[in-house]
């Protein structure tokens, strides 16, 4: 049997060793950050310029779709965008399309309001319309008639007609500028389809880092005016708005990506400020922070294989999140459906309420077929609203993006002409790659091959951005849940030792298997 070469041995390295090396490097860099200069990207500059180009006093729609995991990278740019808009006396209308985003929406608004020099008045300067269920169909319905979908009330149950900000806001046309804060790239096209395209909205987006390649085509066609992506976008916004305490340098604190100092202090110790609320609140916060660090440590043991500790944490998490989503969605069902039946002219809401109950007939084999009726309504409306604007936003507008003036060949510098030619032939070749119904054997196989290479290049770019995105997630987890505040570190490290002992016992006694 031949001896393995050093390279082969290196490539066969156990993933746990790689994870350990990464873990040690990140912890050291988080504890001892270094500072390096960084250039502002054109994306960051374009986003900043877009925010500043919005006329003073405009009505702006702000869809919040952030999640706890993407909060570390998207919160700073989101809060800064709000601040800039309010400094220009803009009126902001908030809502969210994810149940999990609701507490974050409160938190971001509170943080932005607290940072301003002037007092803001709810209902005049901003309004929170809460959660809108139904994903793309829900958003289409929302932009068509805001009052119908929200049942005419905001998140606190206040009648929209009593709020001055909503005086002349009824649909998507009444919000000429918009921002979406998306945690996942699959939801950006839906806002191009349902908001930008039909209503001509000037749209800016705040995304996690891995989204950039997927939305670059919308930036190229002008369907999205600017994007702040990932932690880099947040750092650039802080630098451009001169809010960073280190205006010419950026820390390299966490991994291979970087955070700014204010970000670290504001995010990492955001819960510390809540400790001043007095006895009971103080205790609840302290216990909460210890719990947060412990659940993170338990879940991170997953890196060393599926084990008794990680499984315990996973099941607790699953139970909590399942109940959370259920409560928020049933609340929506109750408030926007059931309660509306009793309202004047709302008798017809008995139809969706009955249909909603019919969905649960799926749980019994005998009545299972009845759930097909509400699902048919859901599917029919979802497919209809999706394909009607897909034709424009994702086919026609993208084809137009391959022609002048968006992609000129003549009368431009040679470098730009070559880039545009690559875009034109590359996109068409990539499209050809998806023709599976015939084999490419003739000269056209070179088109097919070129399309494959272009797609691989695009996926490579996505990989690069994804790596930075994932490291940003990890840095946020470490800073906010394990390393901060410093006075609770003994509890975290003590728990790490306890978990290690439990795992050793579990593996030695065979209770849990080392996979």
């Amino acid at each position: 049997m031949s001896e393995k070469s050093f390279m082969e041995k290196a490539l066969d390295l156990d993933h746990r060793i790689i994870a350990s090396v990464v873990f040690v490097i990140i912890t050291v860099i988080l504890l001892y950050p270094i500072s390096v200069p960084f250039p502002i990207s054109t994306y960051g500059q374009a986003y900043y310029d877009f925010v500043h180009s919005i006329p003073a006093g405009s009505t702006v729609g702000f869809m919040m779709g952030d999640t706890p995991s993407t909060k570390p990278q998207m919160k700073p740019s989101t809060v800064l965008t709000m601040e800039i808009l309010w400094e220009k006396n803009c009126k902001i209308i908030y809502w969210c399309d994810q149940a999990i985003s609701i507490p974050l929406m409160y938190e971001y608004i509170e943080d932005a309001v607290a940072k301003l020099d002037r007092e803001l008045e709810y209902g005049v300067d901003y309004v929170n319309l809460g959660y809108i269920a139904g994903e793309e169909t829900g958003q289409a319905a929302f932009f068509k008639d805001i009052r119908a979908v929200t049942a005419g009330v905001d998140i606190y149950g206040t009648n929209l007609d009593e709020l001055p900000i909503m005086d002349e806001v009824n649909d998507g046309y009444d919000m000429p500028y918009g921002f979406t804060n998306n945690a996942c790239q699959c939801s950006q096209p839906q806002y191009v389809r349902q908001w930008q395209m039909p209503y001509g909205v000037q749209l800016g987006t705040i995304n996690c880092a891995m989204d950039l390649p997927a939305i670059s085509l919308y930036l190229a066609t002008g369907q999205i005016k600017g994007t702040a992506y990932g932690l880099l976008g947040s750092a650039e916004m802080e630098f451009l708005t001169e809010l960073s305490v280190l205006p010419t340098v950026r820390l390299w604190p966490c991994h291979l990506q970087g955070c700014t100092s204010p970000y670290l202090s504001s995010w990492g110790t955001s819960s510390t400020s809540r400790q001043d609320q007095g006895g009971r609140a103080n205790m609840a916060v302290t216990v909460g922070m210890i719990l947060a660090s412990w659940i993170c440590i338990m879940l991170l043991t997953l890196l060393y294989g599926d084990n008794i500790v990680s499984r315990t944490a996973e099941h607790i998490y699953m139970g909590v999140i399942a109940a959370y989503e259920l409560i928020i969605n049933l609340k929506f069902f109750y408030e926007k459906g059931v309660l509306q039946i009793a309202q004047p002219g709302g008798t017809h809401f008995i139809i969706p309420v009955i249909l909603g109950i019919m969905i649960y007939f799926r749980l019994s084999e005998r009545t299972r077929w009845l759930y097909r009726y509400p699902m048919a309504i859901l599917m029919g409306s979802m497919l209809g609203v999706t394909i009607r604007t897909t034709v424009f936003s994702q086919i026609i507008d993208q084809m137009l993006g391959n022609f002048p003036p968006i992609a000129p060949i003549l009368g431009v510098p040679a470098g730009q002409a070559i880039s545009n030619l690559i875009i034109i032939f590359g996109s068409l070749s990539a499209l050809v790659f998806f023709i599976f119904s015939r084999e490419f054997t003739g000269p056209e196989r070179y088109v097919h091959r070129f399309g494959r290479l272009v797609l691989l290049g695009g996926f490579g770019a996505t990989y690069g951005n994804t790596v930075s995105y994932r490291y940003e997630l990890m840095a946020g987890t470490f800073i906010s849940n394990i390393l901060r505040p410093a006075e609770l570190l003994p509890y975290s490290f003590g728990f790490v030792i306890a978990v290690a002992i439990v795992l050793v016992i579990a593996f030695k006694t065979g209770i849990s298997q080392w996979d």
Partner: protein, 211 residues
């Protein structure tokens, strides 16, 4: 007859509603029907929220069954944890509400959100491990993937871009040219796929959608 109620009518509803939604957008003479269309879209949001409960109920039934048949599943103990945490969160939401300061919100802030972060963050280790094993100059395809990936990754490393600023325009060119070309082809392909699949559903060629 039962097939009519169970399959044909639901499929017919999908076709009519789907085509109606498209037609309403393109044909101005259908404007008198707009209030009705808006109403159906509004109903859809209510139905979508109700549908969440089915998934949750199935999950609870699955775990309940595991606890009930404990001898047949070695992991039934974890299902108890799931059910207990589910019930606690549910009761807090029902009786304390979802407002700031409630137990429901406390569990979100200090248990659900950190766990959400931690679970996603573990992927960083796997992405590193995968990149360590996969990225190499094996052939032209792998080389293109690796070169584009590395340049984009390097461009977001302040430690490198601070001293090698040329990385930023190179990565920007990759993002603005290669990625635009790739994703434009990809998105157009997906869009055509969505339209094709929708038409198949509308024409009752894809009955599986009913479940």
């Amino acid at each position: 007859m039962s097939e009519t109620y169970k399959t044909t009518i639901p499929l017919f509803i999908i076709s009519v509603l789907g085509i109606w939604m498209v037609a309403e957008y393109f044909l101005p003479f259908l404007s008198p029907l707009i209030p009705l269309t808006d109403m159906i879209r509004n109903y859809s949001t209510i139905l979508a929220s109700a549908a969440w409960g089915v998934g949750t109920a199935i999950l609870c039934l699955l775990h309940g069954r595991r606890v009930y048949r404990q001898s047949k599943d070695p992991f039934w103990g974890y299902s108890i944890l799931f059910l207990v945490s589910f019930v606690v969160m549910l009761l807090l939401g029902l009786f304390q509400g979802t407002t700031s300061g409630s137990g429901f919100n406390w569990l979100y802030t200090y248990l659900m959100a950190p766990a959400h972060q931690a679970l996603y963050s573990t992927t960083a280790f796997y992405v590193t491990s995968a990149g360590y094993r996969v990225f190499r100059f094996r052939n032209l395809d792998a080389s293109v993937l690796m070169i584009c990936g590395m340049f984009v990754l390097w461009s977001v490393l302040p430690l490198l871009t601070g001293f090698i600023p040329i990385l930023v325009p190179i990565a920007k060119w990759i993002n603005d040219t290669i990625a635009v070309a790739a994703y434009r082809g990809f998105v157009m392909g997906v869009a055509l796929g969505i339209i094709g699949l929708s038409l198949r559903v509308f024409l009752h060629k894809h009955k599986e959608v009913l479940g």
